[in-house]
Assembly symmetry: D3
Homo-oligomer: 119 residues x 6
């Protein structure tokens, strides 16, 4: 059974591949820079994924929220920690963030269900 | 000698006091909620100040950046860690964040100069 | 027959309940503060729902627009008054608001159809 | 003694005149449309100035906040009503609005001081 | 076979007609001003459609991106030129623009497929 | 006699140099990518500076507007063409862009005065 996360990942992979085919040097370098920003450096990658999540939430981008939640769950953040980070996003960004909070909580539940099914 | 950080803090304190006098229950509760969001909970306050910094940078609010940088320095984040967090903000938010990156780096230098003078 | 408003309300109720289960004190207090902001105080609740509508439209959040339109219709604003408020949002926010104006007008029509069916 | 409101008004008038000299038909028509949006229609102008204020606050534009506050005071809104409207903006837009709330409260005080001096 | 572009156009036409029926003078004049902004003047319409595309992309509005891409393709911009414009939007607006870049590239492919089918 | 453009350029150069000293690989690569985005490729650099100007105006960043206006004037765009581009930004972004339009027109006048003084 596919869910909206599977569909998002399939679409994301397919379009990233298509964007790669375009072969625009600037776009390719931007994608590399984006990936590199979340690697261990002065801050570890785990912390930076949480920064990416909160930035995505206050800028109100559901696809970005879903992507960073996947990374955050993989990096080992607990639900309580993710909710606490989303609370910062809610206070900074206001009630306009609430629809994205709903989306984020649903995504966390979907990600945990995947973990459960994988065990 | 006063600098722009001192002026910002003086203005911020004076206007927060004036807003307190207004005595609007909703506004007072919002300010309390804002303060509470950065306390140790599932995440520690130090991590949440860094989340507040990145949220402020991508939403492009210099006053908010200055406030959270002050908190981050007090919480013990190093320059290298702050620059690494600001790099995440830059990649997420794009070149439109650059003027705020300049402002943030100048603020970090002012904050470190204050630390040096205090020793 | 369900429409997109019914689906939105069902999703909104379900996820608000799920967010309540999370039991994060900050998030719960934010939701209470959000509800309280639209109660009769110095301004009456009817006027504040219109403020909420225009804020939602210029910030370009369809879910928020739908929620506040429901509240505005219940509070007794006429179509002509709602369109006049949306015109302010359009002028302040520019053509980027037009897709949300289309959405809002469709929502108003759905809400009026519900009123007609209820009589 | 001039204050920042006087300076803003002088700059605004001077640049609006300069923009008029440019004589771009689209820009001139936009300015007319902007003025017309706040006239009495289905909603009265007084209500629409309050909508303009909240839209300006959540979009975080101090010049726009100052302009609409001037119009709101002239239209007869009380301080308590303006603070209540700004509370809606704060809840919708989040803590990122706080620097603009500080600015708005200072502007209200300046406007009331002008009223006192005029009597 | 209909695709998402057909659905968007049908919805857009239907709701624009509905908005016309509302007969709000301000809204009607805004729509006229919007159309007029992309006509040949000091800049030709072709260049201005590209400006509209980049403005839509950095403000992250998929409907606006789709509309301006349709106009840009009709005006004769090549894929390579459109990708180069989207790269500017990506650098200015940051990784938060990436989901809209994916959407835009898919729309360009749909528009080119329509051109192929029309020949 | 210095003006605000001179001060902006001095500050921009000084802080860019300071950011270079930080020696963060990601930030350095972002600055390179930003510069590269406006070079002649499928689109010529002159057109891309105009895209950068409109993107900066709708995202409401005065420093970015000033930077791209300097580049646009150097690239040979006339006042009439710049005003026509700013009109697109005004229609897309709404009246919230007006304070930035005032700033942009003043900057254009300062840039032309520099050209006159240089002859």
């Amino acid at each position: 059974m596919t869910n909206r996360l599977d569909e998002f990942r399939e679409y994301r992979d397919r379009m990233n591949e298509r964007i790669g085919e375009i072969d625009h040097l600037g776009i390719k370098r931007f994608f590399n820079l984006d990936t590199a920003a979340y690697r261990d450096q002065a801050l570890d990658g785990k912390t930076k994924e949480l920064l990416g999540l909160v930035a995505s939430a206050v800028l109100r981008c559901n696809d970005c929220v879903d992507y960073h939640l996947g990374q955050c769950v993989e990096a080992g953040w607990s639900d309580a920690e993710l909710f606490d980070a989303l609370n910062v996003a809610l206070v900074v960004g206001g009630s306009i963030v609430i629809p994205h909070l709903r989306h984020a909580v649903e995504t966390i539940d979907l990600l945990r269900a995947e973990e459960g099914a994988a065990e």
